[in-house]
Subunit: 223 residues, 2 copies
DNA sequence: CTCTGAATAAGACTGAGTGTCAAAATCGGG
DNA sequence: CCCGATTTTGACACTCAGTCTTATTCAGAG
């Protein structure tokens, strides 16, 4: 991994210590899971690596999975925070795009690296995938509630979950190739891909299959 | 619950017994989880209710959650099967809609009731929600792969996951109110809601927030 | 009826996650 | 600087999902 950035000096000493422990646990989890696999690593090992006990681990994270996906969690938390403080004007999908872009821009400088490592791990470990999928679903529900309140719409309006879904889906799809290139181009490249993905959405709805038997059974790889 | 439909007479006796055991386990899980909660029920209790052992349970289901969501699984399996055998023509989103509609129409007559019970339980038990969310994600990936092959597109084409996502999201949203009315109107009502949800998608993209300060801080419930 | 291979039961075992309790660190007030 | 209250922590015990190993049962073939 790499050395940690200095902790915010303004925090009381106790809080700083807590943050250090939290980061030590998250780092240890990420590193050990990457080395020996999620199932091949026990919680005791993670705790020992961070020089705390198993019970301390559970005071910081609700589950084994959570420690490995801190970067994910930070992202979506920042997204919700930004959405809460934002005034919406214009097309809602565009606003959600901007909201997420602003949230990303405001993350810690070392977030890129941790996020890439997290996503690479998540792609290999289905237990972690399950966890982040569920987390994303929870975020979407909160986005729907927040939008409904801001726009004065009923929370049952089907358009809201559709938009919330599209916004997170677009980001996730945009992030995938960026991650597999180890975050090449940095955060700017990620934001650019994100923009492209959002732009591609309307065209998706128009995608049309070729007429019946231009190419019968299977188009078989190359058209 | 209710009495089971008769099992297919054509199957060898052994296979029929297996199916009976499977159903007994699924029924027991659904009933016990509804009664005493998912966490409040142990696997031993489920197994005992179905008069088999814990190890037998795991030969039919990969996890505690799986037994309670058989109806979900049947739905999405039928969806994938139908998609595999289908020739696509015209707008892809419409085709996915039709695919799912046909799949639903072909399910067992008792599916409605089991599906409603399953969804009501899933809404209350986050462990089950997690499980079905992950299952839906797996299905979507397979839909993307299937579409890419049928349409002769690269699997990296961003439009495919967007469409797959929209198709399952629309159904899930459509099913929610139907489930909360205990499946009133039967399968036809569900299909009708499904149609409406799909129709609402293009309009979602156009949803626009009112100009900046028509109603400053919060639209506060009613516009 | 017996043989065989598959299905099943029984139960030991691992590790996640929870709860309890006592020791230790931290802090406020004198 | 010290003392008592409060909070944080580690050690430990416990439950239960899920895996594995071994022994038993049973449907079906000869």
């Amino acid at each position: 991994m790499r050395s940690r950035p200095p902790l915010d000096r303004s925090l009381p000493l106790r809080e700083r210590k807590k943050l250090r422990t939290r980061r030590a646990l998250a780092d240890a989890a990420l590193r050990l899971f990457a080395e020996k696999g999620f199932d091949g690593t026990t919680l005791e090992e993670v705790a020992e690596e961070a020089e705390v006990s198993k019970s301390t681990f559970f005071r910081f994270f609700p589950a084994k999975e959570a420690a490995a996906v801190e970067a994910e969690t930070e992202l979506w938390t920042a997204y919700l925070d930004e959405l809460a403080r934002r005034d919406l004007a214009g097309p809602v999908l565009g606003e959600l795009h901007q909201t997420l872009a602003v949230a990303i821009a405001g993350l810690d400088p070392d977030w890129d690296e941790r996020f890439v490592a997290t996503r690479l791990l998540v792609a290999r470990e289905s237990a972690l995938l399950k966890y982040v999928e569920h987390n994303r679903a929870r975020i979407r529900n909160q986005v729907v509630a927040s939008l409904a309140s801001k726009l004065g719409l009923e929370p049952e309006d089907l358009r809201l979950p559709v938009l919330a879904e599209l916004a997170t889906t677009a980001f996730t799809l945009a992030a995938r190739p960026w991650v597999y290139q180890d975050g090449r181009g940095g955060r700017q490249a990620l934001l650019e891909r994100h923009r492209e993905a959002i732009k591609a959405i309307p065209g998706s709805l128009e995608l049309t299959a070729p007429p019946r038997d231009a190419n019968r059974d299977r188009p078989d790889r190359r058209g």
